[in-house]
Amino acid sequence: MAVTGTGSAGSLVILDPTDESAPDVRTALERPASLDGLRVGLLDISKPRGDVFLDRLAELLAERGTTVRRYAKPTFTKPMPPDLRREITAECDVVIEALAD
């Protein structure tokens, strides 16, 4: 519906109030069939008791022979610092994130 001129007869031209970004069409990656050989990260977003959930997950994964790397956001109320995002991207194949209260 974008137009360049004054638009067709009888139409009304308005200015786009949005960021004009085309919708980001992205599909989620396939779930891995197994965690064998994959680098697993556990991300605590620093909501209360998220660590309880992640600690138990780490135990269960360890029983299966999978070791994990642990990460934590400084606060759940703000977006993840870009450095942490890069770190996780570089070090992990899959990430399990815990939200809790």
Partner: protein
């Protein structure tokens, strides 16, 4: 386009006289024979704004119904007579004046039988029916935003809903002309970046904010306040991202201080926190539409509020400084006196606190403290901020006792030291509460700086209001104040 430039109209003479007229002007008709007489000499060109056959008997008469020459010459009144020498304007007469026409033309005895003086009429360029089109024609090129078309078969209001641009209420269509008029409210360049808008962290230009101010229903003179509010809300301290994304229901609110309040007709008196004032209603709405449309923050998407509140459509009011016993909020936050400022803060809906009996400041402060205690939960402390709006009849009690802002803050701090026995988990048969500690020390309800006091409201009613906030401080949101004047 400049007054003297002939660039906007390549057929303008470099030397000589140029007249601009229209038939629909009695003064232009009056001078018709004068122009005919002048045009017998070379170097006289007459541009006509409406009827190409007017004025009669003029040798060099040109059609300016497109108004390009009138715009290039910045004509506001017809007839206007302009003298050029070497391509530069050297003199201009507006309306009919025998003396001035004689002086400018150097021709004696002009207009025999005419009155000495007759004022002109408004130029066609200023007619409301063409002004909008001309505005877009002359300045529309300065706009960078994508142009969207609402076809003749679509209902304008419905189309704006369908495209997701609204908060659930109708919006004003942001046509190029309306956006250009909105941009007249600021001297800033439309392409200048105001702030990076969460949650999608999109840089917002002055133009994009102006488009959303049009949507919200703002007048151009509100735009500097909107720009300052956007700047304030998009700081790390205010943390609009967190406030949006939390499941708690608060949203951004704006309190305005300084001369701009009166200049744009804001309400700080009766129903100050309510509906009915265009500036109050639309400035707050514009900030929320900026976050929605530019930042991409929409309910049930990144806005995760479990309940929200009606003020999330927009929440903005002015402080009553003139009737206040307290230093204005902006001054208490470092803005010099006489300057205009906005303070953004996290806000739930306001909740009244009545006290019609207290005439002692201590008693009244204790009442207000009880009202404040209920913020977030009466048994929880230090997590959430709040704002107390003191009404004039309550403020008078403090004024009569000589209490200033600091004195009231100190008293509220004292009365909001909560007894652990009352607020520990399980106390009062309620599992919620603060965890049992190893100390019996009372706990303050609010973090230091977590309670803000504002004065507003109508002259009758001993009813102040508590506005609950959200998680306060570095891990949440802190109020942020920004000056308005830099955005004018």
């Amino acid at each position: 386009m400049t007054r003297v430039g002939i660039t906007g109209s390549p057929d303008l003479a470099g030397d000589g006289l140029v007249a601009v007229v229209k038939r629909d002007c009695p003064t232009c008709q009056l001078v018709e024979p004068v122009l005919a007489g002048l045009s017998r000499a070379p170097g006289v060109t007459v541009y006509t704004q409406d009827d190409p056959d007017f004025p009669a008997d003029v040798a060099d008469r040109r059609d300016d119904t497109e108004l390009s020459t009138s715009l290039a010459l910045d004509i506001e009144t017809v007839p206007t007579l302009v003298r050029f020498a070497g391509g530069v304007e050297t003199g201009r007469v507006v309306g009919w004046s025998r003396a001035q026409w004689t002086e400018l033309t150097g021709v004696a005895d002009l207009g025999e039988g005419l009155p000495e003086h007759r004022p002109g009429c408004g130029s066609r360029t200023l007619d409301p029916d063409v002004a909008e089109e001309l505005l877009v024609r002359t300045r529309g090129g300065s706009l960078r935003s994508r142009r969207l078309e609402i076809t003749a078969l679509e209902d304008e209001a419905e189309a704006l809903f369908d495209r997701g641009f609204t908060d659930g209420l109708p919006v004003v269509a942001p046509t190029p002309a309306r956006v250009l008029r909105m941009l007249e409210g600021t001297s800033r360049d439309p392409g200048e970046v105001v702030a990076v808008i969460p949650p999608n962290l999109v840089p917002a230009t002055v133009e994009k904010v102006a488009i959303n101010a049009v949507l919200a229903g703002c007048r151009p003179e509100y735009l500097p306040v909107v720009l300052a509010a956007v700047e304030a809300a998009c700081t790390d301290e205010f943390n609009a991202h967190g406030l949006l994304a939390t499941t708690w229901g608060a949203g951004p609110a704006i309190v305005v201080n300084g001369p701009v309040r009166a200049e744009i007709g804001m309400n700080w008196a009766g129903n100050a926190l309510g509906q009915g004032n265009r500036a109050n209603s639309t400035i707050g709405r514009a900030l929320q539409l900026v976050i929605r449309n530019i930042g991409g923050g929409r309910p049930q998407e990144v806005d995760r509020a479990a309940l929200g509140h009606p003020g999330k459509v927009g929440f903005c009011f002015a402080e009553d400084e003139e009737g206040s016993p307290f230093e204005p909020l902006a001054q208490s936050r470092g803005v010099p006196p006489g300057r205009s400022a906005v303070t953004v803060f996290a806000a739930e809906g306001p909740r009244g606190v009545a006290d019609q009996i207290s005439r002692r400041p201590e008693s009244l402060a204790r009442s207000l403290a009880l009202g404040l205690r209920a913020v977030v939960h009466p048994k929880l402390v230090r997590g959430f901020d709040a704002t107390l709006v003191v009404c004039p009849e309550h403020a008078r009690v403090f004024a009569d006792a000589g209490w200033d802002r600091a004195r009231l803050e100190a008293a509220l701090d004292e009365y909001l030291l909560l007894d652990r026995a009352e607020i520990t988990r399980g106390a009062g048969g309620i599992d919620e509460g603060v965890p049992a500690g190893d100390s019996d020390r009372p706990l303050p309800k609010f973090r230091p700086g977590g309670l803000m006091i504002v004065h507003a409201g109508g002259g009758a009613g001993m009813f102040s209001a508590v506005i609950g906030g959200w998680a306060g401080g570095p891990g949440g949101s802190a109020p942020v104040t920004r000056e308005v004047d830099p955005w004018r």
